[in-house]
Symmetry: C2
Amino acid sequence: MHPFDAAIALAARPEGGWLGHTSTAYGNMVGPFGGITAAQALQTVMLDASRQGEPVALTVNFCAPLDAGEFVATARAVRTNRSTQHWIVELQQQGQTCVSATVFTALRRQTWAVDEHPPPPVQPPQAVPPARMPAPVAWIDRYEMRFLEGALGGAADGAERPSSRTRLWVRDAPPRPLDATSLVALADVFYPRIFRRRARMVPAGTVSMTVHLHADAPALAAAGEGWLLAQAQAQGFRSGYFDQSAQLWSESGVLLATSLQTVYYKD
Amino acid sequence: MHPFDAAIALAARPEGGWLGHTSTAYGNMVGPFGGITAAQALQTVMLDASRQGEPVALTVNFCAPLDAGEFVATARAVRTNRSTQHWIVELQQQGQTCVSATVFTALRRQTWAVDEHPPPPVQPPQAVPPARMPAPVAWIDRYEMRFLEGALGGAADGAERPSSRTRLWVRDAPPRPLDATSLVALADVFYPRIFRRRARMVPAGTVSMTVHLHADAPALAAAGEGWLLAQAQAQGFRSGYFDQSAQLWSESGVLLATSLQTVYYKD
């Protein structure tokens, strides 16, 4: 079984809801990698027998660190319309909510379509050397990363940079066919933008992450096990919080997801 | 009383929660202007006696149209930490959820700060003529709008445009000192990007709206009754949904809010 599938596995509880567990394979400095937690929250909806349609948008709030071990996940369909559905998800430990999320699913239809934000012109993944990340955390090894711009640790001279932007080629390690859950996890693959902008590490962590999935089922299937081009940049930093705007494209240049995060920082 | 304050007024219910009502002053084609609904959802948290801190981020999901009349609003603090708090909000009519939301509040601290996304160079509001909007909906009259780019109805020749971007100066009409609730409403002031990109109107409506409030209390106070520079653009349109990325700056160029929306369209 792929480590990603093992990490998002949920067991139905007789009394309702699901039992999940944190994944040491996706461990971060404090608690698990946020992307895997977001994927677990989405998986709670994906496994629900009453779900209709594909995920289109979700917001995951990291309310408190998940302790290593089990959690209880519940998904409630707060509104079911003819072709759309709205969900509220909570992950709890010891009866306390650690993660809250809203998920929007819909039966998608073919319509006029266009990607207004094209991928930037970059070198193909084969031409970019693999990253060697300095951070000794497990989840980094769950992804192959090839940085085009803004790798962590590059020129950590303490001089403030004019841009927080990072661009990289990224995919699951080992490769795994893309689906909605892994795409959501990949949307959190960027280290905190404050590290890049200030060229040094400060305490920081994602508080809330919103992902709009442009990828419908055919686009996910077409992306397959290929590389994704991923880009993230902050728009502003103030009073302990910054935002992160991100885009992910398939190797062939199809926009798969866009994201906006709220991230805590201390400085 | 300013029409905005009348619209977001909530009455405490003896049995818990709040009683609100839709506002004809902010009426839209179907149901109310989404921005006023988002402001009502936030106001449910703002009025809660157990709230700590200022709103930093929220996601509002428009699950079903609100019928004209009363609704019941509830806010639940799902997690309260030392300096942060996570909320789940629901607005219901006839016991059915019409709006769900998550709100993140925090005690903000002065930190290193920078606006990475600067305002575009534009003419001052005094140099731009007022908009005359063709849409006969009430909420349009609750705002003064001066379009710099991408006004609705401009050159509706049916020819597809290369960009969905709109830029405008905007403020409450009559002017009202900016606060978190009015800023969230203003973050929804843009008409659907599909109208702009395709140069024609099609059925469309916001499904989910995330706002990151860069504006802390001093920034809101400094913005006062001044104009805001507001900009919105889609990143991609596919299978019935597009996203909308938006930025709002104060008249003096301070980044106040960024946003990502998911919008339904039919075509």
